[in-house]
């Protein structure tokens, strides 16, 4: 029994680590499409709805590679043009606590896919689904909502803010950019 437990521990460890470092670049149909409706509000008459989470979200949300790819796409697809490096500009800031259309990865994915009326374009046809998930995972990481062991780090570029896995600490840094 104890041996079994001892076996189990590294196994779980392995699974957790694999998920964090997995580098699948081919879409996995087994994970589902992630096309579920995501309400913008939490108000729901008739009782609370179970929070929407599917395999797809989970496989992107805490994956270091996908978040890092998301960071690359964030600038390649000009997200940074409007949202800067999370601080916002033409578009709202993404690194703060305020979410106009929901902070879950599903909501962010839906925002990218469908757009939002006050200026967020709809990228549904323009970005493959997996890359939207990568972007959504990165956007969450911008606000410090990703596990620090998987969050992407700074770019070899101008220092715009402390690297993503240190963002929650940024307030304590005072003057540090």
């Amino acid at each position: 029994m104890r041996q079994a437990l001892a076996m189990l521990l590294p196994l779980t460890l392995a699974l957790v680590a694999c998920q964090r470092e997995e580098r699948d670049t081919r879409p996995q149909s087994a994970l589902g499409s992630g096309e579920q409706p995501t309400p913008v509000t939490t108000l729901e008459p008739g009782g609370q709805r179970p929070s929407p989470t599917d395999n797809k979200a989970a496989s992107f949300e805490a994956n270091a590679f996908h978040m890092s790819e998301g960071k690359r796409l964030f600038s390649w697809f000009n997200c940074s043009g409007c949202h800067a490096n999370g601080g916002g500009g033409m578009g709202p800031a993404l690194m703060d606590e305020k979410w106009l259309y929901g902070s879950s990865i599903e909501s962010i994915h839906a925002t990218i896919r469908d757009g939002r009326p006050n200026g967020m374009p709809s990228f549904g046809q323009k970005i493959p689904d997996d890359q939207m998930w990568e972007l959504a995972a990165y956007v969450r990481a911008l606000g410090g909502n990703a596990p620090s062991s998987a969050a992407p780090q700074r770019n070899d570029d101008m220092m715009v803010h402390p690297s993503e896995n240190r963002l929650p600490d940024a307030a304590t840094l005072g003057k540090s950019p």
């Binding site: 670049t25 690359r72 323009k126 493959p128 997996d130």
Partner: protein
């Protein structure tokens, strides 16, 4: 035992004969720089082989000539030691002379190489990307600056100056049959002068490990007579031709509607991505995906349908197109000569 050793060596000799050919070989020089280097390689190899053979003879001699296997350890004879010392010292002296010679040789070879491009009329900026090459032909008239990808056309017989840099990681530009390699380093600009003696197609590939698809980061230098080169440059400067067929027309629309437009540029259309290869004249290139596939309708379709199967980890995503859409886009791209 010696026979065994010979048997081991025999296949090498066969391979040696088989080799030397190929369009990506340092031993098959097609330009003055590579020629100088190939000569240098052969000279060094020959000299080193001679030295090696001498050492092996010196090693084998006592074994062949040994009379009595030892038993009691020998005590030293001062006179014999001194005699041997003279031999060893002269061997070391000879080594030193050879090395000085080789140093001087490589120093002068270096100077010869440096002289090749001093009067280059054409400057081409090559920027390394994960995992493809951006090629920009500089021109005093900005509207004649051509940006293309993965293939470098040069006029044969003329020195060409390449400016090498990178926007992501370190790559290395290497066309073995024309010149030695030089790194593309972010934050640095390197200058490589090349010259192809004769028209031809010379393959090269990235020689500095640059991540997942380092293996599939090929490039071609296509040397052409000056007139052909100029004509090629003029063609390439034109915007992409209008889609010829109805299917191609649909493909052009799809190109702008689907993920393609997010990264690629096609001159004359609103597609203006710069982070991926310029596709304005993609069908005029020899290969797809930086030397990974030869250019053909089938490969084009295969590449668009499953880039992650062909070049796993590359930045080309699977675009989720249905069969008709795929065919339409292929039809369109195929027409971009």
């Amino acid at each position: 035992m010696k026979r065994l050793a010979f048997m081991a060596l025999a296949p090498f000799c066969v391979l040696l004969l088989q080799g030397c050919a190929g369009w990506q070989s340092a031993l098959d020089p097609k330009g003055p720089a590579a020629g100088e280097l190939a000569w240098l390689i052969w000279f060094f190899t020959a000299l080193c082989a001679v030295v090696w053979v001498l050492v092996m003879i010196a090693l084998a001699a006592p074994l062949v000539m040994r009379s009595r296997p030892g038993d009691e350890p020998l005590l030293l004879n001062a006179g014999a030691e001194r005699r041997k010392m003279r031999v060893v010292v002269s061997a070391v002296g000879l080594t030193a002379i050879i090395l000085i010679g080789l140093t001087l040789l490589s120093f002068f070879a270096n100077r010869t190489l440096a002289a090749i491009g001093s009067d280059a009329a054409l400057t081409i900026r090559v920027t390394g990307h994960q995992w493809w090459w951006e090629v920009r032909y500089e021109n005093a008239t900005p509207s004649r600056i051509l940006t293309t990808a993965n293939e470098v056309h040069i006029p044969a017989g003329e020195p060409v100056r390449l400016l090498l840099t990178s926007t992501d990681v370190i790559h290395s530009f290497w066309i073995p049959s024309l010149a030695g390699k030089l790194d593309l380093i972010p934050g640095h600009m390197n200058v490589l002068d090349i010259k192809a003696d004769k028209p031809g197609v010379y393959r090269g590939q990235c020689a500095e490990f640059c991540g997942a698809q380092h293996a599939n980061m090929g490039t071609f230098i296509i040397a052409e007579p000056r007139s052909k080169f100029d004509a090629w440059l003029n063609d390439q400067l034109q915007p992409a031709g209008a889609p010829a067929s109805g299917e191609a027309k649909a493909g052009a629309d799809l190109f702008l509607k689907r993920p393609c437009v997010m990264c690629h540029r096609i001159g004359g259309t609103p597609a203006g991505g710069t982070v991926a290869p310029d596709l304005t004249h993609i069908a005029s290139r020899k290969t797809l995906a930086a030397g990974t596939l030869t250019m053909s309708r089938g490969n084009l379709a295969a590449w668009i349908a499953d880039p992650q199967g062909i070049k796993p980890g590359s930045h080309m995503p699977v675009a989720d197109l249905n069969g008709d859409e795929l065919n339409a886009i292929v039809a369109y791209l195929e027409g971009l000569k």
